[in-house]
């Protein structure tokens, strides 16, 4: 025994080709070389064939003047901007649609999902009708429906609906006054930042106090008061340093102010409503996955219905809800590319639509677009995975 121990483990008698570790490295190396060679072959062959067919290649086109207009642009853009700029305009429009759509779909979805479990017969049936209607109609049809529903009944700009001063609704969109900050407005922003910091500190203090004494603090109302009150106070002190630019009818259309196009509204409404019907079912499934004993136990301890839902049911349901919810967020983002049907200038419409046609560089443009969608989706995925890990049941 002693002799063996000092000599270390006996020399391996396995041949290298029988060693699982060596074999796995070998096969992985072979696979890697194959994939890389295949990739290089495809790349080289594509370039050669493009050259042979006389189709222009390269990414130089991104610097050339685009020469076309885009209706919605959050960053500075005009006809003399480059194709690269047009790409960013489209990308930002896609991200805007994805973000606003996800927020709206989540809110509607959670409300409908909880309503489906309501003890009120009418509420739960209405929620069921909502879900079954909107998830069973193809999205493109819904987009056309909402677009027509918005466009048809609304009047022309000259006969705009004008419910309150400065707000105009017509078939060219919704026109709102836009605010222009004046001197002293920075103080209001500083007040808002202070309020937010205050809320964070207060929440921590309230938690500590509850842990120590068991006394609860009305954090919600206090936060609300801080966030609204403090900036408002600053506004009063500085004498309301905001001026409003009103939309005015000039010639054919309204000029000035902020406008939201009917295309944006139609796409946003249809994406939110459609995705919300799936989210509602996910929320319902998540809540029902929590053992009934949990709510019974909470009720037995004297916890009321609302805090039971908020403190006992939802935290456990979230574990079930988050992974499929992430898929719905990804779906919504990708579905936003249907924008091209109703003239909302998203990435697909602007970049793989107009730019591709003006330049004809299909391979480059489609590659860029696919890479962008992949990056957006991976980003959402990573965020949801992080949130999922954070919400996962911690076993003690």
């Amino acid at each position: 025994m002693n002799k063996e121990e000092s000599a270390g483990p006996p020399p391996s008698t396995t041949k290298p080709w029988n060693d699982p570790a060596v074999r796995s490295i070998f096969f992985q190396a072979v696979l890697l070389v194959t994939v890389v060679t295949f990739g290089m072959y495809i790349f080289g062959n594509t370039a050669a064939n493009l050259e042979k067919q006389g189709i222009a290649t390269g990414f130089g086109f991104l610097d050339t003047t685009a020469g076309f207009g885009i209706i919605t642009h959050l960053i500075e853009y005009n006809e003399s901007s480059s194709y690269g700029r047009a790409f960013f305009v489209g990308l930002i429009n896609t991200l805007l649609m994805a973000f606003t759509g996800i927020v709206a779909a989540t809110i509607i979805g959670v409300v409908i999902g909880i309503s489906r479990l309501s003890k009120n017969w009418l509420v739960s049936r209405l929620a069921m009708v909502y879900v079954e209607t909107f998830r069973n109609i193809p999205l493109l049809l819904q987009i056309f429906f909402w677009y027509a529903a918005i466009l048809r009944p609304l009047p022309s700009p000259k006969n705009s609906i004008n419910p309150i001063d400065g707000l105009f609704l017509n078939n060219r969109g919704l026109y709102l006054p836009s605010s222009i900050p004046e001197d002293g407005f920075t103080l209001v922003i500083i007040a808002l930042v202070i309020a937010i910091v205050g809320v964070v500190i207060m929440t921590k203090w309230a938690h500590k106090r509850q842990d120590a004494t068991g006394q609860q603090f009305h954090t919600f109302y206090a936060s609300l008061g801080l966030i609204i009150g403090l900036p408002f106070l600053a506004m009063v002190v500085t004498g309301f340093p905001l001026s409003w630019e009103m939309p005015v009818l000039k010639g054919f259309n309204f000029v000035g102010g902020t406008s939201i196009t009917p295309e944006f509204i139609a796409l946003w409404v249809s994406l939110s409503i459609y995705t919300a019907s799936f989210i509602a079912e996910i929320v319902r499934a998540g809540i029902q996955a929590v053992d009934h004993g949990q709510s019974e136990a909470a009720h037995a301890l004297g916890v009321k219905s609302a805090p039971t839902l908020r403190l006992v049911i939802l935290p456990q349901a979230l574990r079930v809800i988050i992974p499929p919810l992430a898929s719905q967020y990804l779906n919504l983002t990708k579905n936003s590319s249907l924008a091209t049907a109703i003239a909302y200038p998203d990435l697909v419409s602007v970049f793989t639509g107009t730019v591709l046609n003006q330049t004809g560089q299909a391979v480059e443009i489609i590659s860029i677009t696919m890479a962008v969608y992949l990056s957006i989706s991976l980003g959402i995925s990573m965020f949801m995975n992080w949130y999922n890990a954070k919400m996962a049941l911690v076993e003690r």
């Binding site: 495809i42 006389g54 020469g67 022309s156 259309n253 046609n357 330049t359």
Partner: protein, 336 residues
């Protein structure tokens, strides 16, 4: 979705095909027995289908003429309706053999896309349509207007150039399909609908009340429309060019589908056109009576124009599309 399909097809063709010069389209076409012709999704007078699914129009006639030249049968054509976004990819990827879809000949398209334009079958120009009750009489009064147009067209660029160079503001609302553009314009989303003037007249038929709209007199661009083929197949390029030239030459010589039977013999120019003299068909790689087949089955250029464009409800006059000998600019090299 078709866009994506054909783009992916193009990508895979480019990536995997050992050689994709698309040589000898004629052999392929003769092998399968028909021409795959890319047309519009419905533009009256140019390429449009009736309730039985039959296609007609001056663009369709180019494809029928090519089929008549190759097979002696003008019906040996299958049609692929394409949006303006899809058209070039469909041609590059080999999904169609020829694109005859009111497509404007521009430098970029001719040089950077691997394509060749085989002549001009309609000289067009971009115009504007507005509602009569707007009280607008010419394009210079359109500052601040919302303009409906189609993505992926020269129209989109011309309108930008026009408004920019005249220092006027505008909002562009660009849709993928022409039907969507028309529907949006009709429901009042835009003040102005812009496309080629021929297209304006053609689309006006589709409006709820066509008489409430008018086409402004201004023409803001040159839009020579013609058939397109892939670059690198000169034989196919020649067949496409000469199918069109045959129709124009026939009109110039006064040969129509009605009188072609009685025209044989006599004038040497007529004899060459009808294939009784010379070896033009052989040189093109088609039958000697190629041009006679075209004229007898499809008609000459003037007949095609009159049948498709000069009738109710379009009533488009020949204008610049008249023969050069009648004060227009339609001119074909001679068959000799």
């Amino acid at each position: 979705m078709k866009k994506i399909t054909s783009t992916v097809m193009l990508a895979s063709t480019l990536a995997f095909a050992a050689s994709s010069t698309f040589a000898a389209t004629l052999d392929d076409v003769q092998g399968k027995g028909f021409i795959q012709c890319g047309v519009s999704q419905g533009l009256p007078g140019f390429s449009n289908f009736d309730d039985k699914g039959n296609w007609s129009g001056v663009d369709v006639d180019i494809c029928r003429a090519m089929a008549a030249a190759i097979f002696g049968d003008s019906e040996a054509v299958k049609y692929t309706p394409l949006s303006s976004k899809e058209r070039f990819t469909a041609l590059q990827s080999g999904e169609i053999d020829v694109l005859s879809r009111n497509t404007t000949w521009t430098a970029t398209r001719d040089t950077a896309l691997g394509l060749n334009f085989a002549g001009v079958n309609y000289y067009d120009g971009q115009g504007f349509m507005v509602r009569k009750d707007l009280g607008v009489n010419n394009a210079s009064e359109l500052s601040g207007a919302a303009v409906c147009t189609q993505t992926g067209t020269t129209t989109e660029l011309n309108v930008a150039d026009y408004f920019r160079s005249n220092g006027m503001d505008y909002t562009v609302v660009a849709f993928e399909k022409s039907d969507e553009v028309v529907a949006a314009y009709d429901s009042g989303r835009c003040d102005v609908y812009t496309t080629d003037q021929s297209g304006l007249y053609a689309q006006r038929i589709k409006l709820k009340d066509g008489s409430a709209h008018k086409v402004l007199p201004d023409v803001i661009s040159k839009e020579p429309l013609g058939p397109v083929v892939r670059q690198g197949d000169d034989q196919w390029f020649n067949i496409t060019k000469w199918a069109l030239y045959c129709m124009v030459n026939a009109e110039e010589m006064g040969i129509t589908s009605a009188n072609i039977k009685s025209k044989s013999g006599g004038d040497p120019g007529v004899k060459r056109l009808l294939g009784e003299e010379g070896s033009f068909g052989e040189n093109l790689g088609v039958s000697p009576t190629w041009c006679a087949n075209i004229v007898s089955q499809v008609g000459n250029y003037g007949e095609s124009f009159a049948r498709n464009l000069s009738v109710d409800p379009l009533n488009i006059s020949r204008g610049v599309n008249a023969l050069w000998s009648n004060g227009g600019i339609q001119y074909a090299p001679p068959i000799r």
